[in-house]
């Protein structure tokens, strides 16, 4: 057992994948000597060389575009996008090329490319450094989109994403980079939960709270607080945003009959809308209340001094739980 941070979990996951397969590359801005602005790639260039840990020019479309070329040549590039808000220059390469190329080629080629994105707010940063843009990619057929919420998942999901023959967008909750947990390094990758499975983190009977990435911790805190008031909340860590683990989600929704979805991204057309639509479609007669959403507002992410108001917090979750129970 080792105590690791979430950042370290990704780092160790990258290292394990690079050791296991010489075709795995890490590329992005400042991933080399600096080890990335969050130090997630710390030490990798030193140990694997500049040929495998590549500081790229400052151009995100170039990062993804050349990664596609490298993948066509047999490599497995893991691209770092420095902050969520800087992925947009690569949008065409991601949604028109990376996502669609396999279908375009009738399956003759696959693109095992991972795009790592530190995501979300809460770190007091300036504009563009706190965005939650998962809905764009989850809406894009051809991509897989996952979000880790804790150090152990970070370690395994990184490796699973790299092992996937499909392109995977891997969201890392940046304000949880320094959260710690115990990792049992003797566990094999095969023993980890499948990449696209959700996880019931806390069983409960009254209301299901679904969260992912940075909001999982907040949801757990809300559940603890609610327990003191006698509310028994079930918390589901979604983990996979596309595809969804509908089985786990539906089972929980059927059990509690009440669902609250929590995310930092704006609500309008956010993950919560898809979850609400799908759960309602599948569990119509089991629901006691409409699926409620606790999300960022439908505004640009605000200046950091007011971000705590923008971001869903324990109180807003509990408020939604109360509203759900009031139906």
């Amino acid at each position: 057992m080792t105590i690791i941070t979430l950042a370290k979990g990704v780092n160790m996951g990258l290292r394990a994948a690079m050791e296991a397969d010489p075709k795995v590359l890490v590329m992005g801005e400042d991933v080399g000597k600096l080890g990335g602005v969050f130090r997630v790639t710390d030490g990798l260039q030193k140990d694997f060389g500049e040929d495998r840990v590549i500081d790229t020019p400052l151009a995100e479309s170039g990062i993804i575009g050349t990664a596609i070329g490298l993948a066509l040549r047999g490599y497995r590039p893991v691209c770092e996008i420095q902050f969520d808000g800087f992925v947009y220059p690569a949008f065409d390469q991601i949604v028109s090329q990376l996502a669609k190329m396999r279908a375009r080629a009738l399956g003759y080629i696959s693109l095992p490319v991972v795009v790592r994105i530190p995501v979300g707010g809460g770190i007091g940063a300036v504009e563009h450094h706190s965005e939650s843009n998962e809905a764009y990619f989850a809406h894009t057929a051809g991509l897989r989109v996952v979000a880790c919420s804790n150090p152990v998942d970070a370690y395994f999901m990184t490796q699973q994403a790299i092992a996937s023959d499909d392109p995977v967008i891997l969201y890392e909750p940046k304000r949880r980079y320094w959260e710690k947990a115990d990792l049992d390094e003797s566990l094999a990758l095969e023993q980890a939960a499948p990449l696209h499975s959700a996880r019931v983190l806390r069983e409960g009977t009254d209301v299901t709270v679904i969260a992912y990435g940075p909001m999982v911790k907040t949801a757990m805190e809300a559940a603890t607080a609610a327990a003191e008031e006698g509310q028994d909340i079930e918390v589901v860590d979604l983990r996979s945003l596309s595809p969804l683990d509908t089985e786990t989600i539906e089972a929980s929704a059927r059990k509690t009959g009440r669902v609250v979805v929590v995310h930092e991204a704006p609500g309008f057309l956010g993950m919560g809308s898809e979850l609400a639509a799908r759960i309602t479609e599948r569990c119509f007669f089991s629901l006691e209340a409409p699926v409620l959403r606790v999300t960022g507002f439908d505004t640009p992410y605000p200046p950091s001094r007011v971000e705590e108001e923008y971001l869903p917090d324990l109180d807003r979750i509990l408020d939604a739980v109360d509203r759900s129970l009031s139906y």
């Binding site: 575009g65 066509l72 040549r73 190329m101 279908a103 009738l106 595809p243």
Partner: protein
């Protein structure tokens, strides 16, 4: 140094694109009249049978092209992007490639596809709408057509970076048009290629037009000079001269393989047809321009040279014509026989690994379709190609 550079750039800027129709200085080995000329930097030793083979390629790809245009007019293709006028640029560069080299085309590289051994029916399949190409890129070392302007130049550069990592003695060609040079992606490809010294040849077919926009809307200096700004060589070649294109591209590929990094080749040519069959160029350009370019036809000059030098006789030309007729018939027959894809193929190949949502939708749709009809199968046929 800084002032000189600034000064010279100013001169260049003042110079602008030469007026339309004027003769730019470019590498040429065969004049429009079919005379063989020498060039100090680019010599070419070429055997007679190779020369005849190039002629054959030019004629055959033009015939595939015109047959496809005819098929489109008859409603068999949704659209067709003709290469008319650009045969030499494509065959010259396509034949310059070694087997292990890799090409990343746009949507107009039918001549390069031919050289890489791609069945012309695959190309028609795309424009008919039965698939997006359907060949195995790695079997032909010829990537699928890319329609988003410029995107493939980054894929080409990444692929070349991979070759470099592999220690392979190979190179990549990235094809793109004059219009494409304005895209951020193409410029980023220039940057990545130069910074990593990647073995990639940027092959720009300047056919003077991006749909209705003349080259002046994309640049105010000759395009090959763009390379200067990124620190690698640029060269303008007569794109209607198959020999010059062959020589220049060969040299650029060889430089790339030897570790000298990227080169920009501007093949100066002309789009003799419409942008695609959906386009109406009479709305934006003068026939006079077209007429002047007819005199520079890429096939006529090779024929004139072969005739004058006696390297080919009428029997040879007749033979090529026959072959072209056969090829056209093959293309026509194959096109008409192409069946529509199975509706359920929509769900195929989206992911390499299992995907519950796609599986669910596929199943639901299959059940739904069953209430109407049963799906058709797909057929395939063997094909004559120009490949290795």
């Amino acid at each position: 140094m800084s002032e000189n550079a600034a000064g010279s750039a100013r001169d260049t800027a003042a110079g602008r694109v030469p007026p339309r129709g004027s003769e730019p200085e470019l590498v040429q080995l065969l004049t429009p009249e079919g005379e063989r000329v020498e060039h100090p930097d680019y010599s070419l030793e070429i055997a007679d049978d190779e020369l005849r083979a190039l002629y054959r390629d030019l004629v055959l790809v033009r015939r595939v092209d015109s047959e496809a245009t005819a098929l489109q007019r008859q409603g068999e293709l949704g659209i067709w992007a003709s290469l008319l006028g650009q045969e030499a640029a494509q065959v010259g560069s396509g034949r310059a490639m070694a087997e292990d080299d890799y090409a990343f085309p746009t949507y107009r590289e039918h001549g390069v596809a031919w050289c890489r051994g791609v069945d012309p029916l695959n190309l028609l399949g795309l424009f008919r709408g039965v698939n997006h190409g359907g060949w195995d890129p790695n079997e032909k070392n010829f990537h699928l057509y890319t329609i988003v302007i410029g995107a493939q130049t980054l894929h080409a550069t990444g692929y070349a970076m991979g070759m470099q990592k592999d220690g392979a003695e190979s190179a990549v060609i990235a094809y793109f048009g004059d219009g494409a040079t304005s895209q951020g992606d193409v410029n980023e490809a220039f940057i990545y290629a130069s910074v990593f010294n990647a073995p990639v040849v940027f092959f720009c077919q300047n056919n003077q037009w991006a749909i209705s926009e003349p080259i002046e809307k994309q640049t105010r200096i000759p395009l090959y000079q763009r390379a200067m700004g990124f620190g690698f060589p640029g060269v303008r070649v007569d794109g209607n001269d198959v020999l010059a294109v062959l020589a220049v591209t060969r040299a650029a590929l060889q430089n790339a393989r030897e570790g000298s990094g990227p080169t920009l080749v501007e093949a100066y040519t002309y789009r003799m047809g419409a942008h695609t069959t959906s386009d109406d160029p009479t709305r934006y350009r003068l026939t006079q321009e077209l007429e002047s370019w007819k005199l520079k036809d890429p096939i006529e000059r090779v024929k004139a040279y072969l005739v004058r030098t006696g390297k080919a006789d009428q029997a040879y030309f007749d033979g090529v014509e026959r072959e072209a007729d056969e090829l056209a018939a093959y293309v026509r027959k194959g096109c008409l026989e192409m069946s529509d894809p199975d509706p359920l193929s929509i769900f195929d190949h989206v992911y390499a690994e299992r995907h519950p949502l796609v599986e669910e939708e596929r199943e639901q749709f299959a059940t739904y379709l069953d209430t109407f009809q049963s799906a058709d199968g797909l057929e395939e046929a063997a094909a004559p190609t120009g490949g290795h």
